[in-house]
């Protein structure tokens, strides 16, 4: 017996189903009833119930790619803030093998890096590494933070959402699994991208979001683009929408098939994590590819774009300096204290 439907919004303690279903992530079993432990959306697949949280904290997982900020430089490692209840460490030998160098000359406090989680120990401390293409220090740009559960939505199926934003705004975007997003491009576009990303975060659980975002992007950039181009954009929209729907259906079908395969294992170890992350894992691969190709393709892209709008990249050097300042401001995501009094005054 089941009491909810797929994609329903549920709250903690709500009874979802009776014994004949399997409890997945975000649920627990009590007195033969499966209940939700989170506020989130129900995901139903082959008698397995999960609740996908609306908000959550990032818990480091081996193999994830994350964006982190150097918090402290110690004798043989860096302390890295990875936007999580657990801090990350980047051992010196992961960066320069057995050579001895001064650590703060390589990465100093405040630097933002793109890292991979190599290992997570039993107390959930994440050991980080820089081995892999595309990993390393970010220069300039801004950091936008979103809830880690929204990361797959931001990337979209096969990167549809993120690629669309990239193309529209001409920004370089890198998404970390821990919910931090690095954006670099024209200053206005950075701000626009930040807005767009926040919109996606807020409306992640609504349907037809890709299209909505597309409209928003067109509207915002409209003024800067030649008129003909925007018209083309609007013509292109309709078929895109259909594709998106088909994609969604396909996605669901594919996932259902994948589920069938995994089912036997999953029943045995209902508690074991992996399942809820299959979406994210897809996403992760996307990100990697994204970030790698970014650096290589970038020049080519730039050339193309300069033909259309020459003034975009003329001022980039100037912006870099500004961005450096911006970055510092934007990185204060862990500083929660300031705004508490705000609402009090308003009330």
């Amino acid at each position: 017996m089941i009491y909810v439907e797929d994609k329903n919004l549920v709250i903690p303690g709500q009874i979802l189903a009776d014994d004949d279903y399997y409890p997945g992530r975000g649920t627990f079993k009590e007195d033969g009833k499966i209940c939700s432990s989170l506020i989130g959306l129900v995901s139903l697949r082959n008698k397995k119930i999960r609740v996908i949280p609306l908000k959550s904290k990032y818990v480091p997982k081996k193999g994830d790619v994350v964006i982190g900020k150097i918090n402290d430089v110690r004798f043989s490692m860096w302390d890295v803030d990875i936007n999580s209840p657990y801090s990350g460490i980047l051992p010196a030998f992961e960066v320069f093998g057995r050579d001895k160098k001064e650590l703060n000359k390589v990465y100093d406090v405040g630097d933002v890096l793109f890292l991979r989680v190599i290992d997570v120990d039993e107390v959930k401390k994440a050991k980080l590494g820089l081995k892999g293409r595309g990993l390393g220090k970010f220069k300039g740009g801004i950091i936008v933070d979103i809830s880690p559960t929204k990361v797959p939505r931001l990337i979209g199926k096969k990167g549809s959402m993120i690629n669309m934003i990239k193309n529209k705004t001409n920004c370089k975007i890198v998404v970390g699994q821990n919910g931090l997003v690095w954006v670099k491009g024209d200053e206005d576009m950075e701000q626009l991208t930040r807005e767009i990303i926040h919109t996606i975060e807020v409306e992640a659980h609504t349907s037809g979001l890709t299209n909505k975002i597309k409209n928003k992007l067109c509207l915002a950039i409209d003024g800067e683009l030649p008129v003909e181009e925007t018209e083309e954009e609007f013509v292109l929209e309709k078929p895109k929408l259909q594709n998106f729907k088909e994609e969604l259906e396909e996605e669901e079908r594919a996932e259902a098939e994948a589920k069938l395969k995994d089912e036997s294992e999953e029943i045995q170890e209902a508690e074991v994590e992996s399942e809820s992350d299959d979406v994210e894992e897809d996403a992760e691969e996307e990100i990697e590819v994204e970030s790698e190709s970014d650096d290589v393709e970038d020049e080519a892209e730039e050339e193309k774009e300069t033909e259309d709008k020459p003034n975009f990249y003329d001022v980039i050097e100037e912006l870099k300096k500004k961005n450096q300042n911006k970055k510092d401001k934007n990185l204060s995501y862990s500083d929660n204290s300031k705004n508490n009094s705000f609402i009090l005054n308003n009330r």
Binding site: L9, P12, L54, V123, H205, N336, N340, I343, L344
Partner: protein, 230 residues
């Protein structure tokens, strides 16, 4: 007896008007604002986050800390700011009332901080604090077994009544605040102040339970309203 009308015009089993709003603060991980009668309470939840107090860490689970604080202007006479005996007690019992509902096993060595700020007080702030705090915890995405809800009953003019106001609390004979997990009906907080016969005590608990169930519906409504798309 049940026909009697109370000082503020309520029936013996009537709650004061309640308004709950989830997610009112931008920078907190979760937050809630609640009004019950003349009470105005704001709760902010941070976490699970890295614990900066080493000695509080638990290797196998997360811990919660709670701070109940009354604004100096929240009562008629100015309240001296800072923690006092009463607010320390309420901080502790609030944390104790919420702890059984939390499922922090997946966040070992972490800490959840709950800040309850009473902006205006008019009796029954501890129950209101618990009610608001659990909404804020849900809003923060903290895994929970149930949404804890608090409500008080008491004895005024030899009558057992629900949800005491400030006047009733001061002039009444007894006050029984409870907090429950509404799905199972488990009691997570039970205090009793004043004299009650066994019969009256049972009656007070039953009445308070009933009140809790009503408040619980409002909690759920507030959360659904905040996040539903339709």
């Amino acid at each position: 007896m049940s026909e009697m009308i109370r000082e503020d015009g309520r029936k013996y089993n009537e709650l004061r008007p309640i308004k709950i709003e989830a997610g009112v603060l931008e920078r907190a991980d979760g937050s809630a604002y609640l009004e019950v009668g003349g009470n105005k309470i704001l709760v902010a939840v941070y976490g699970p986050r890295e614990s900066y107090i080493r000695r509080l860490l638990e290797p196998n689970t997360g811990v919660i800390r709670c701070r109940y604080n009354m604004a100096p202007f929240s009562v008629d006479d100015r309240k001296r700011p800072g923690p006092d005996r009463r607010s320390s007690e309420i901080s502790k019992i609030t944390a104790d009332a919420l702890r059984p509902a939390l499922m922090l096993e997946n966040y070992p060595r972490s800490m959840v901080d709950i800040y309850i700020e009473v902006i205006e007080a008019e009796g029954g702030t501890r129950c209101a604090g618990i009610t608001a705090a659990s909404v804020a915890l849900v809003d923060a995405g903290v895994p929970m077994k149930d949404i804890v809800v608090g409500c008080a009953a008491g004895k005024v003019n030899d009558e057992v009544v629900l949800d005491l106001s400030e006047v009733e609390d001061k002039e009444g004979q007894a006050d029984v605040p409870i907090a429950i997990m509404p799905r199972t009906g488990e009691i997570t907080l039970l205090q009793s102040d004043g004299d009650l016969t066994e019969e009256e005590f049972q009656k007070a608990i039953d009445l308070a339970m009933e009140g809790c169930m009503k408040v619980s519906e409002l909690q759920k409504e507030a959360l659904m309203k905040k996040y539903s798309t339709e």
